[in-house]
Amino acid sequence: MSVQTIPGAAAADAPQSSRWRSLVTQESVSTLVVSVIVGAAVILPLITLVVSSFKVLDSGGFDTTWGFDNYKRLFTDRIIPKAFVNTLIISFGSTVVATFFGVSLAWINARTNCPWRERLEPYNLIPFFLSPFVGAIAWHNLASSKTGLLNVWAREYLGIETHLLNVNNLWGVVWVTGIFFAPLVYLFVVGSLRRMDPSLEDSARTTGAGLFRTTMTVTLPLVMPGILSGAIIVFVTAAGEFGVPFKLSAPYGWETLTTQIFSKAVGDDANHYLGATMSMALGAICAAFIYVQQRYIAPRSFTTVTGKGFRPNVLDLGPWKWVAFGYNIAFIMVAVVMPILCLFIVSLHPVWEGRIFLNELTTINYEKTLFWWQSGAIKAATNGIYNSFFLAFVGASIAMVLSLVVSHMIHRTKGFGARLLDFLCVVPIGFPGIVLAMGVLVTYIQTPIYATLWIIMLGYITRFFPYGQRNISSVMLAISEELDQSSRMAGASWFTTLRRITIPLLKPGIFAGWVLLFIIFLRELSISIILYTSGTETLSVGVYYLANFENEPLTCALSIAQTVVLLICIIVFRRVAGREALTA
């Protein structure tokens, strides 16, 4: 700088320029870049969705005008208002079911002397990792009114005239969604139950309250914030669930918002704009609930960990512990064992009419859905295997890199960018996959990534990277910031510190998050179903295709294949993440 200096001005200038230079650092530049990317990925689809919802398709189906007609149709359509009511019934019902199972099982596992409770816990959590859509297929084959295995047996052995159970209605959806989301509530509750200071309960006992009264007036109220959080998440997830109502209730006349979005926005006479409007309605409900949860309930959790060295004592249930044990076993039976067994039995039959024929068992269904090199293979199914593994592997990797950088910025940098990122990471959780997928669809429909796997991957990552980010954040919060700072003191740059100190320390969290996302991507349905085209089917889309256009045994075969892969992933997840990873 060879500018002539004026005394006084130089003094004012120097700090300013150094201030500017200090802003242009590795750290601030990457923070900014990542914020912009995340912001664009999250906000763009939502904005486009809002804009599209006001576009009205004319009767010819080509030109659009602006207006509120789509919103009017939400109320005047023949089906949509009913679908809206059905969605609320399903959400509410499955929240009740999931909360009941989740809280009672968590209590049994964390606070009682139920036999073998440590062994039971992983099985209680299995439904969390499996596909609810596959669960619906299984329960359809277990308890549809005509060919459901349980109903056939009931007619045969119990002499019941018509049927014992029928899951092809709203209550079937409530049941299956409820048991599959019970682990969500479980996970929200069990950690705080386990960490609870036992003297809070002990003092109720010494004050004169019995076991039941203590549980009702002290134990459960103390974990009420956790219960409410879990219940709200279940409500929102159930409202956005596509597979279960699609399989169980929609074909029998009970449509939901998700099945309506799918059939109106993706069918032959697709109306994306109407789909966007319905997504707005669904998204608004869910976002409102998540807002309430994040704003009012999550911060309210009672700090119950106090005192030194309390031993984690549990309640002695006496002979009732066997009742608790039986109840837990019953849950595992209806949520895990019976569905998987039923799928397996059906998948071995050439055709399925509700009866087991041991002499006709065949592996043909597996060959047709899995053996892509054979000529008789069904392409929609075999494509799904390759596509899903690609999406899960690459998607989880990209998402974890993103999560790592984002968590680092949220927890280790200060300023506006950090708070903005923190907010952006909550937004996708508030929107069901199908809503976000509609946003992605209308945003990118005219770009080259439309009809490729990349648009699906974009949807996956946008929707689910907060899960990975949470996984890393929890580990990062447990690691002292001073470990990073002392690396900087020793002369390492921000990036070197990240590479040499932060990432190695976070390895367990990173890998656990990666496997979790891998599992989620491998079973994803409601985003894929909106964004796939012929050739980019995923595993769950393959199952959907078979369920819709082929027969039950083929559907069950691919379902079993997906379930087996997921079960293997669960074992890997527990190995790397440890027992406490989810429940601590």
């Binding site: 003297s199 004169g208 009264r213 109220p221 009420m224 700090t303 106090t306 005192g307």
Partner: protein, 370 residues
């Protein structure tokens, strides 16, 4: 004290954790209105004993009686749940329920007992007045300070007038100043209400200040039961002597007895003739038996020159170092193979390496047998 009038009676209580015997044949009876403290280092079984009385642990052997009722008996297979024992308990972590107001916390025990509404209101407010929290009744427990939570826990434990209140190190989470204040207040309250109290602590000064009687425990076994003066002045064995206050312990041999006093010989190592001292105690010890001399630091006198008048129990030593503690000087002195702690409240310019003479009065020395 006859067994008939005991409010709480433990008879050969035993509790195992795995192979470890946490409570070993503990027998104790507590009179109505008495304040008894279980004192000992951590892991000595005092808290386990208390939790057995509360019903939070199930004893493996022995009986527990509260009032006239046997609440636990391993031999008879009796075991009452905590809620059926009519006791109150104050926990170390206070365990004040964060989802209830102060009033609701305290009223809980009355509600459980189905007291009518006006009784609940009246008695809860009286208990809160007693602990000085009446004006905070509607506040949530999370908005209270540590000392206030402590008071809530106390009010909650006494509001339904239980037969006995159990305290599990209730003051250990408070800061030093508040702890001393609460100590005084707790004793005042206990005297006022007249409630039978069993108090667990590892803090000896707490035990000495508050209790009618102190029960010193170590490794699950009761070492001594007595009032605070007796425990301090006449410890029953070396453990009690060193655990209560500070004591210089020296091993020696009993060589004679004259009246109240007994004569001991303490070897001081090679090159020095053994020290002959007279001290009190030593009851039941035989001549020639190995005994332990216990002298408290504040009872040892330091002379810069050899005293001119004949003084008993005198020996020479060399100053190792001194620590200035404001109101007194703490000094370590080597006497032969022994290292003695001495407390001096006046002087003086003691230099490390300096030669001094030490003595103590016979009534300040205690001959211990175990």
């Amino acid at each position: 004290m006859s067994a008939g009038e005991a409010m709480v009676a433990l008879d050969r209580l035993n509790k195992y954790f795995g192979a470890e015997r946490a409570v070993n044949d503990v027998t104790l009876s507590v009179a109505p209105g008495e304040f008894v403290t279980l004192l000992g280092p951590s892991g000595c079984g005092k808290t386990t004993t208390l939790r057995c009385i509360a019903g939070l642990e199930r004893p493996d052997g022995g009986d527990i009686r509260i009032g006239r009722q046997t609440v636990a008996s391993a031999s008879q297979g009796v075991y009452l749940n905590p809620e059926d024992r009519n006791i109150g308990m104050v926990f170390q972590s206070y365990a004040v329920w964060p989802h209830m107001t102060v009033f609701e916390n305290v009223a809980y025990g009355l509600r459980v007992r189905r007291a009518p509404g006006h009784v609940i209101k009246q008695r809860t407010m009286r208990a809160l007045e007693l602990v000085g929290l009446a004006q905070l009744a509607e506040r949530y427990a999370t908005k209270l300070s540590g000392g206030q939570r402590q008071r809530v826990a106390l009010a909650r434990a006494i509001v339904y007038e239980p037969k006995v209140v159990l305290f599990d190190e209730p003051l250990s989470n408070l800061d030093a100043k508040l702890r001393e204040q609460m100590r005084v207040e707790l004793v005042r309250l206990q005297r006022e209400v007249g409630i039978t109290s069993i108090y667990v602590t590892h803090d000896q000064s707490e035990a000495l200040v508050m209790s009618d009687r102190v029960v010193v425990m170590n490794k699950g076994v009761i070492q001594q039961i007595g009032d605070p003066q007796a425990i301090y002045a006449r410890p029953a064995n070396a453990f009690v002597a060193s655990f209560i206050g500070v004591a210089n312990l020296m091993q020696g041999t009993l060589i004679g007895r004259s009246g109240e006093l007994c004569e001991m010989e303490i070897p001081l190592g090679e090159g020095r003739s053994p020290l002959r001292v007279s001290a009190v105690g030593g009851e039941g010890a035989a001549m020639g038996q190995t005994v332990i001399l216990s002298v408290r630091p504040e009872d040892i006198l330091v002379h810069l020159k050899a005293p001119e008048t004949a003084v008993g129990n005198l020996t020479e030593g060399q100053v190792i170092d001194t620590v200035y503690l404001g109101n007194f000087l703490e000094c370590r002195v080597r006497a032969g193979t022994h290292e003695l702690g001495v407390q001096i409240d006046h002087f003086e310019n003691l230099q490390p390496g300096q030669k001094v003479h030490l003595s103590f009065k016979p009534e300040h020395g205690l001959c211990l047998t175990g």
